[in-house]
């Protein structure tokens, strides 16, 4: 009990509450993925293996979509990988948070997601960023596993996530987490330019590439020689 209280104190109530809210969304997304995949004839163990090993929601939905449309393994692989190239800039931004021992590197790498990155970047203090990265990651893993099991068991009876508006929940969480960083004018300008580029490219390029092209917006946020006060300490 004391250890549990200690852990709660370490993580903090706000972060626990945020993680819980976010995990509910992930559990429903996991359930709908598993229901969809098994309804398409994917065996339950491959469905579960995909969720635990690929561990990237958008790539998983895209992969079963491509497979359902008759795409072969190469098309599935290409779609999934292109969608996930965005993890490269994420890893560069937060990789130091888990680059300690071999097993934290292994788990931390698997734990790299849109949301764990966003939760970590929303914390200015490096120690809090680490705690946020692991806490939201643990919530995501547990929720994803539980959701998949429910989805496999319930099959087609599962509620339609679109009817529940859940496709709006995850972008809204990420938006909420990046908003504080956008108070910085140069970051805001870079993000707006990048978003405009990504939007313009979206009708023409495969999903996953436009968000990378957004990085061109960084020309407006290239840090000059001066140090900004918030990053003075390292």
């Amino acid at each position: 009990m004391r250890a549990r209280n200690g852990l709660t104190a370490l993580i903090g109530r706000d972060l626990l509450r945020d993680t819980a809210a976010y995990s509910v969304g992930i559990a429903v997304a996991g359930a709908s993925f598993a229901a969809l995949a098994t309804a398409q004839g994917l065996p339950w163990w491959i469905t579960l293996a995909m969720s635990m090993l690929v561990y990237a929601g958008t790539a998983q939905f895209a992969a079963i979509g491509v497979a359902a449309a008759g795409g072969g393994p190469a098309a599935v692989l290409a779609t999934g990988l292109i969608l996930n190239l965005r993890h490269l800039p994420y890893g560069m931004a937060v990789g130091h948070l888990y680059w300690d021992r071999w097993w934290t590197r292994l788990l931390g790498t698997h734990n790299l997601l849109d949301t764990t990155t966003a939760f970590a970047l929303a914390e200015a203090d490096p120690r809090r960023a680490r705690i946020a990265y692991w806490t939201t990651g643990a919530g995501n893993f547990a929720a994803s596993a539980a959701g998949n099991v429910v989805g496999i068991a319930a099959g087609r009876q599962i509620a339609d996530p679109a009817a529940l508006g859940l496709d709006a929940a995850l972008p809204a969480i990420v938006l909420a987490l990046v908003l504080p960083s956008l108070k910085e004018k140069s970051t805001l300008l870079a993000a707006l330019t990048g978003a405009a580029i990504a939007l313009a490219a979206s009708p023409f390029l495969p999903a996953g590439i436009p968000v990378l092209l957004a990085l061109a917006g960084l020309v407006f946020a290239w840090p000059s020689g001066e140090t900004e006060p918030e990053e003075a300490e390292r």
């Binding site: 945020d18 809210a21 976010y22 994917l42 491959i46 293996a49 995909m50 090993l53 690929v54 561990y55 790539a59 393994p73 599935v76 999934g80 990988l81 996930n84 993890h87 490269l88 800039p89 994420y90 890893g91 560069m92 931004a93 990789g95 590197r105 931390g108 790498t109 698997h110 990155t117 009817a163 529940l164 508006g165 496709d167 709006a168 929940a169 972008p171 809204a172 969480i173 990420v174 938006l175 909420a176 990046v178 960083s181 970051t187 870079a190 993000a191 990048g194 978003a195 580029i197 990504a198 939007l199 999903a207 968000v211 990085l215 946020a221 290239w222 840090p223 020689g225 990053e231 390292r234």
Partner: protein, 102 residues
């Protein structure tokens, strides 16, 4: 889809996830580089939100989805907790769809 395809995708995604920290550990990360990399991730995340809210399956996602994300964003801007942001965003989108607005 076969287990082999799933494993190949899993390995591929893992390697992409691994590439960032590996590249990072090969360079001498100055404060400027650090700032730039953080901004880069923010820019990608922001673009992901915007494109994810407006595009679905290669076309316009309809009004319900961006409306929900917008409501969530406005509440977050007013410093509402994530829980409120999630519920409001999902409820907005769900209710608009219930009302027949795609």
């Amino acid at each position: 889809m076969t287990m082999t395809a799933v494993l190949a995708l899993a390995v591929g995604v893992f390697l992409v996830r691994l590439a960032g920290p590996l590249m990072r550990s090969r360079i001498n990360v100055s404060e400027r580089t650090e700032t730039l990399m953080k901004r880069g991730a923010i820019v990608v995340l922001a673009a992901l939100v915007i494109t994810g809210a407006l595009f679905a399956d290669g076309g316009f996602a309809g009004w319900a989805l961006p409306a929900g994300v917008l409501v969530g964003g406005l509440l977050a801007w007013r410093r509402a907790p994530i829980l409120v942001v999630v519920i409001a965003a999902a409820a907005t989108t769900a209710l608009l769809r219930l009302a027949g607005i795609a």
